[in-house]
């Protein structure tokens, strides 16, 4: 459904390219007669800001909506001339008041935003929180993923510092180099239902978030990376604890904001600054590992990191003691249980025979 929708949009946009100057639905509303001629046309707001009233017809025609929407589809309150004047004090007031127009078509994504962190802080009164048009634009709406690097630039318009850190990471450098595999902001944080990263629930989801790419055989093969990293993490104490905490993170954090959870991917590897695990600056390279362990285990000594098998499965080469113990029980448990069951069976047989 969504794919066909997209394909259709693509087709429409492609057709639109050639006929940008041709008749578009927006022209039928006679709005552009006033709003499409003078780029300097503005309106003074009580805040002292100037609200531009000009719409670049060419720009709009090229946008994803150019071939589809008439002005009144979004500006549904502008039904006559002169327009009813509305008491907007600031430009932000205008945006906040009109952004909900998107939901009349994009209801699914709008609904998702209600679960997002931007909506949550907007509801608490922070009017800077991103609304549809802050990320997507208004008259110039294009496909948000073309090119892919555009996504992180969009987020960076507010989250500039995080983006700077991200661009220095192994993923960010890849993105700059045109790599299409690396995650951009929305791959981990999602686009519309962005979770609040402070409540711990996103952190506890990292094994599956990171795992989406890091267990992809085909993708990891291109970089010579192991796809066993998630499984080996999950079977370890941290992974097991995180799995059992998942779903309870938010309530636990609400009770105690300083609450620590079992280490997840990002606790050791880093978040936006993540680097190759062999990079000398990486927190998981051997030389830095104790320091990383000490974030949660303050009294860890130099011998402590050896207790972590570095995502290796126990083998005679990698962790011989662990491997031996594992083999012992692999033989011992069936032998023990089998022996006892056999003896019970023999006893029952004897009881039956004696009767």
């Amino acid at each position: 459904m969504r794919t066909t929708h997209r394909a259709l949009l693509g087709l429409v946009v492609a057709l639109g390219m050639g006929t940008a100057r041709g008749a578009i639905p927006a022209e039928q509303d006679d709005c552009l007669g006033c709003h499409g001629s003078d780029p300097s046309q503005t309106m003074d707001l009580p805040s002292g800001e100037k609200l531009s009233l000009y719409v670049d017809q060419e720009h709009f025609a090229k946008s994803v909506h150019g071939e589809i929407l008439r002005c009144g589809d979004c500006h549904s309150d502008k039904t006559g001339y002169p327009h009813d004047s509305k008491p907007f004090k600031t430009r932000r007031d205008v945006t906040v008041a009109t952004y909900e127009q998107c939901k009349s078509c994009h209801f699914a994504n709008y609904t998702k935003t209600l679960d997002g962190v931007h909506f949550a802080i907007m509801a608490k009164g922070n009017r800077k929180a991103a609304l549809c048009v802050d990320c997507h634009g208004s008259h110039d709406i294009g496909r948000p993923t073309e090119p892919r690097a555009r996504i992180s630039q969009t987020c960076a318009s507010c989250h500039a510092n995080v983006n700077k850190v991200y661009l220095g990471s192994v993923h960010g450098k890849g993105l700059t180099a045109g790599n299409q595999d690396v995650p951009v902001c929305t791959d981990c944080h999602r686009a519309h239902d962005i979770a609040d990263p402070r409540d711990g629930s996103l952190a506890l989801r990292t094994p599956e978030v990171c795992g989406r790419c890091h267990t992809d055989e085909k993708m990891m093969k291109r970089y010579g990376l192991s796809t066993r990293v998630v499984d080996t993490y999950l079977t370890d104490f941290h992974g097991m604890s995180a799995s059992l905490t998942k779903g309870h993170a938010r309530s636990a954090k609400a009770k105690d904001p300083n609450r620590l959870f079992a280490a997840v991917c990002t606790d050791c590897h880093g978040v936006h600054e993540i680097s190759k695990s062999k990079d000398p600056g990486s927190p998981v390279v051997r030389a830095n590992l104790v320091k990383t362990c000490r974030k949660c285990h303050p009294d860890a000594t130099d011998s402590f990191p050896a207790s972590w098998l570095s995502h290796y499965e126990p083998s005679p080469q990698k962790a011989p003691i662990v491997w031996l113990v594992q083999m012992f029980y692999r033989l011992m448990i069936p032998f023990m249980v089998g022996g006892l069951v056999l003896q019970i069976a023999l006893h029952l047989w004897r009881v039956v025979v004696n009767r």
């Binding site: 604890s241 059992l244 011998s303 050896a306 126990p314 029980y329 069951v341 006893h347």
Partner: protein, 242 residues
């Protein structure tokens, strides 16, 4: 001659009760951690109020089990040094002979099961299995409880090894108890539905005659033949566990 014989003293009954409760709690709080991917594990963890509470209960019970093991051996040592007991729980060559004799009887090669003393070879097996299991579980449990401290004393690799051992030994103990002990103390046709002697301390003379004739003979100063062991009753095999 009374109809009942006192088989377990108060201390032994309390020890069993403590072990039983603590063992059950350890299973309920430990197994969900081993099988953390399953739905029932999450349900159990929720019942105990989250993984942190689950773990707190698990560790508390672990400490109780460790202490009870220490107390048990201290008291046993005291009794042995004071020569107030026979070393009835110590395995001997006779136990191997008995095991083979019992199997021969089960298979129909021998007519009668061997007569047992106070503890038969199965009870000794379970007792020493529990002792060995306790030692492994307590040692590895403390390594997992205090990993950074452990890493100061032993190589780091011991910690994941302890986790593998703790998790598997725990599962094995759970299986041995649910299969073997539940059978012998409940489902065994000789005692079904419930062998109460470890709770009441009392056992009927009739069962003593069947299951522990050597001990009964010694108590009553008679020979096996005087007791009439092996005559009359249908099954002379024992199944009760200590």
């Amino acid at each position: 001659m009374s109809e009942y014989i006192v088989r377990f003293n108060v201390q032994q009954r309390i020890e069993h009760l403590v072990t039983m409760v603590v063992f059950a709690l350890l299973c309920f709080t430990g197994l969900p951690q081993k099988f953390y991917t399953t739905g029932w594990a999450h349900v159990l963890v929720d019942v105990f109020g989250g993984i942190d509470n689950t773990r707190a209960i698990h560790r508390f019970c672990g400490v109780v089990l460790a202490l009870s093991t220490v107390v048990h051996f201290a008291m046993a040592l005291n009794t042995i040094v004071g020569k107030r007991t026979r070393l009835s729980m110590v395995p001997s060559k006779q136990d191997f002979t008995d095991a083979i004799g019992t199997l021969r009887y089960y298979l129909g090669v021998a007519d009668k099961a061997p007569p047992f003393d106070r503890y038969d070879y199965r009870m000794k097996f379970e007792y020493w299995g529990l002792v060995a299991g306790n030692i492994i579980m307590v040692l590895t449990g403390f390594v997992l409880y205090f990993p950074t401290l452990a890493a100061r004393v032993v190589p780091g690799e011991i910690i994941p090894a302890a986790k593998v051992a703790h998790s598997n030994e725990g599962l094995m103990a759970f299986l041995v108890i649910t299969i073997w002990h539940i059978y012998n103390a409940h489902l065994n046709p000789d005692v079904f539905p419930f062998d109460t002697s470890i709770f009441t301390g009392k056992i009927s003379r009739e069962r003593m005659l069947h299951e522990h004739p050597l001990e009964l003979a010694r108590m009553e100063g008679k020979s096996l033949a005087d007791l009439g062991h092996g005559h009359g009753h249908g099954h002379a095999d024992a199944g009760k566990m200590g």
